[in-house]
Symmetry: C3
Subunit: 433 residues, 3 copies
């Protein structure tokens, strides 16, 4: 049995309706809907009448018949688990965002929603008790490593870590094939991060166990793009907006930024988006990505001026310029004007614009990266974004290991006390569904 929140959120997604449209559609006040969407622990939470459940279920049935097979409608085939539908060469492995359709992506989001009470330390699950993850980081990335590791632990599993090329066997000439096959005999899933594009793919080919690409150099980092889109979807849900038709601004290094390329590929699965791409002249979005957006029927504008480009944005997605890539060389056009800060957001954006960043951001003087003066502004969603890494990665593990339908029944209350808000600057609605 789905809980009330998950049922309603899922229904709104399938019907492609905002909260306002949805409450109109079923003839209730939006205020009532909001109380049904609150966590059960909230003082203002209300139980939804049974009649609403029945009504919504009926609408959903009709909608699915009426809309037939259009891509945006979610029809779960009970005979094909998600792991098979997103499989990589027939295996339960996640290497690329290309493995997703809009449907399978939204199904993964629904699983991530189920994980939220665990990610927020209200519930504990031990469904993966006995399973072991190898977190193989041939390139240091502490936050990503801990995020994957903590997600696996929160499902009850155990983690073996390795960082750097301390993999002595590989320095002795061992092939990736051998390394992958050997480690696969020890554990139940692999997360691999590697500085070379294609290396994770080699790991995946040598084994049948779940492999997740944790970033392969200039290649992909699919879980980052998925958590970014999950964040957009959750923020929009809170604000009563839809992804279809949204205005997305991306700013910074759009040439080398792996995360924006992958995020765009996922966003392109939606309809009628408007992209504004703002980059210094030498760091513009590659042509093949621009073509892809255009082919999918979206509108693209390019700009070198932040102040102009931000106007009307629903999402501002800022990225760090990887200065270590350029050495001492100055980057043409990357001036203080390129910094997104409080003044600029106040001048160009509305109260419901959302500011995101894949992090880390460079906080040093003169870095021109996303300013820390926005830390108290609730429009800054960067920590809601990293927080979402846990439920999204839990959903990925649960899906690839085939336990996604068992998680909800495996939950029990936590025994320890957690703060209501993780960060002292977290906005009042953080953690709210």
């Amino acid at each position: 049995m789905l809980d009330q929140q998950t049922f309603l959120r899922d229904a709104m997604r399938r019907l492609n309706l905002t909260r306002e449209n949805f409450s109109d559609r079923i003839g209730i006040r939006k205020r009532a809907l909001d109380t049904w969407l609150l966590p059960e622990t909230s003082g203002e939470y209300r139980v939804m009448p049974d009649i609403v459940t029945k009504f919504v279920t009926e609408i959903l049935g009709g909608s699915m018949v009426a809309q037939g097979l259009t891509q945006s409608v979610y029809i779960a085939d009970p005979n094909t688990p998600l792991r098979s539908r997103i499989g990589y060469h027939g295996k339960p492995q996640l290497l690329s965002v290309e493995q997703f359709s809009r449907d399978s992506l939204e199904e993964l989001f629904r699983i991530a929603d189920i994980m939220q009470p665990i990610a927020r330390r209200q519930k504990v699950s031990r469904i993966l008790e006995g399973a072991v993850l190898a977190n193989l980081f041939f390139e240091a990335s502490t936050r990503t490593r801990i995020s994957f590791g903590a997600a696996f632990c929160r499902l009850g599993g155990s983690v073996c870590d390795t960082t750097g090329f301390t993999f002595s066997s590989m320095t002795k000439g061992e092939s990736i094939y051998d390394t992958s096959r050997v480690i696969s005999g020890y554990v139940d899933a692999l997360v691999v991060r590697h500085p070379e594009q294609g290396a994770v793919d080699e790991f995946a080919r040598a084994t049948n166990i779940p492999v997740i690409n944790g970033g392969d150099g200039p290649g992909e980092h699919p879980s980052q793009a998925i958590l970014d889109l999950y964040t957009i979807q959750r923020e929009f849900s809170r604000l009563g907006k839809l992804i279809d038709g949204a205005h997305i601004v991306m700013a910074g290094d759009l040439k080398y930024g792996r995360t924006v390329h992958s995020l765009i590929k996922l966003l392109a699965l939606y309809r009628n988006l408007r992209f504004t791409l703002i980059a210094p002249p030498t760091l513009e979005m590659p042509a093949h990505i621009l073509e892809r957006i255009a082919r999918a029927g979206h509108v693209v504008e390019q700009s070198t001026s932040l102040a102009q480009g931000l106007k009307g944005a629903d999402i501002v997605y800022a990225t760090r310029i990887q200065k270590e890539r350029f050495g001492e060389e100055a980057i043409e056009g990357y001036t203080p004007d390129f910094q997104i800060n409080q003044a600029m957001i106040n001048a160009s954006c509305s109260a419901d614009t959302i500011v995101m960043h894949p992090l880390p951001r460079d906080g040093r003087p003169g870095a021109n990266d996303l300013s820390t003066d926005l830390n108290h502004d609730p429009r800054l969603a960067i920590f809601r974004q990293t927080d979402n890494g846990i439920p999204v990665r839990m959903a990925i593990f649960a899906t690839l290991l085939g336990v996604e339908n068992q998680v909800q029944h495996s939950m029990r209350d936590v025994s320890w006390r957690s703060p209501h808000h993780v960060g002292p600057d977290d906005a009042a609605f953080d953690g709210l569904d």
Copy 2:
């Protein structure tokens, strides 16, 4: 329900009585008291008659009324959990020994006593099952890292480790604020060790989750000072001594030694101590610490001669001279005469003197550190001291996460076999309560 040992130990502490005085007070023979204080598994263990429980409870009630609000009497307010009373800026975080009063310190010790059956591998608890600790060691300290990690695991939790500045994001200019807030979204508690004073404080300010200072350079390392004092209290309890009025000798580098500074601050919460401080001329105790001891009404003597200073010591606390700090330079007055060894202890100390050291000790020839020739001497408490790191750190975690009252009921017997003594040279009374 407290067990018999914990009840009695707690009563003696509250009444500030040794075993002898306590057995006098309630009119029984000390021998009988000793059998009640043994572990239940001991052949000589005896169950205490109910009448004793009632009598002691009544004495405790009277004592608390009579002594009113004096600092040394323990009055637990059931409405204020320990985590709130020792809180750091209102958060359940442990940054400094300054957060403790004598009462709250002794309450923590009582919780550590409850942890002893787990620390000694007689019992298992899973109370923190589902919780995740991030062990962030920006400076290598393997023993401290493993001690915190093992303590968290023994409560049922999982641990994500990181060592060194492999924190690639920080080398890319990320602020401590961002790092702390991001990791806090992944886990339930942070232990942070950092080479710079104040860095752990920055971590703590950026999050509401429990943060424990695992050592911040020349700053503090509070769990070390707490386990040191816990060791003194346990050794004295075994010997029938009280901390009030004790003679504490500290020898070695008293200028830079972070551990002695913190330990002195905790000892200063007790009454009428006598300190003998023995250091080479350039490594003497800083004036502000001396003033603090004096202000609290304790007596201080300074000496440069070990042979003289050790006389009449209840505790000899030796510290390592951090030679790496001085390079090739010789340290004035740090001669072989400065080495505490078997001959010196035999000549100057009594049978119930206790020798401690925060470890590591330098065992290389010519190091002049605490000699290994004491390894078989039961007065050497250095490994009882490190062993106590586990129950003390478990008590800190349990307190900050608010599960300290649930631990005892969560215990079950271990399934595996453990040696009776961990070390082949452990004294016969090791592990005895």
Copy 3:
């Protein structure tokens, strides 16, 4: 209660009979026996009639009386657990293959067989829940570290890892004695790998808790030799062969190769073996090992030609030449002729020859190490060999911690889905018993 497979496999071992001889002995068809030996989940699995159990039990009783005290008969004294019989200076520690007799080795194999359903992700056990392992790797060896760590996790325990000489305390002059005793107070077992021979022994002497030698430089690496022999025994069991009388070929660096020395010591516990040792002239087997084989009544031949030496081999055990040991210098006689590859195996070996290697193998061009062109050949057992590291190391932990008799009753089904074969090239019989 042993399950049917374990009972039968054990009986065949005690009676020193192949499947064919065993089915003859009890008057059934080999085909029937094979169905009883299948996993319960197999479609062709059949339950063995009770009468067979009774008959086999009777044969075993008679056999044990008749054969009296000969070394090859397994007589478990219920009063002496295995940990005591293989103990190291009376402690439950595993430092050397010399601690084993043939009986105790085969008893360990029986325990490893019990672990197989867990190692193959069919079952989960939590018998070591609450126990903590310290995995101390003073020398990097990622695969060995993960293998030990995963084995401990699969029994329900938790692991604290450390890699390299980040052990800051030891760089400050701390002795191994102190390090070992301190860490032993935190955890329940130690795995130690160290570049210097004898260092692990020093660790073991300083503590009473279980210590396992994970490799001490040119010294020993006993768990590797045990898993190698366990692999030989399992492969032979599948093929209906016995170790007694087998022809073992070892090729490569036989002078410095720690693994072949230890494996030979274990093989020498069996009867009437024939060894063919093939090495370049400067890398021949040391004389003291040759003498040991001869003393135990086995036949040894030495050769410098692979093509000749491989003829009639039951086992071909190849080892890597540690080129890093020789620098730029060419190794006399280590030419492409020295490479074991598909063509050579086809030319010189039969269909039931087994090819093993301790890994890593050097896959770089010109390395002359075991060729990757054998990857699809079912005779290549190198990954079955590494897979066996998990049940063998689980058996070692369970034995040293005294839970080997509780594991079977602690098992429950896994909740997640695993691939039928770990590797895409795994032979059809992989994972079969």
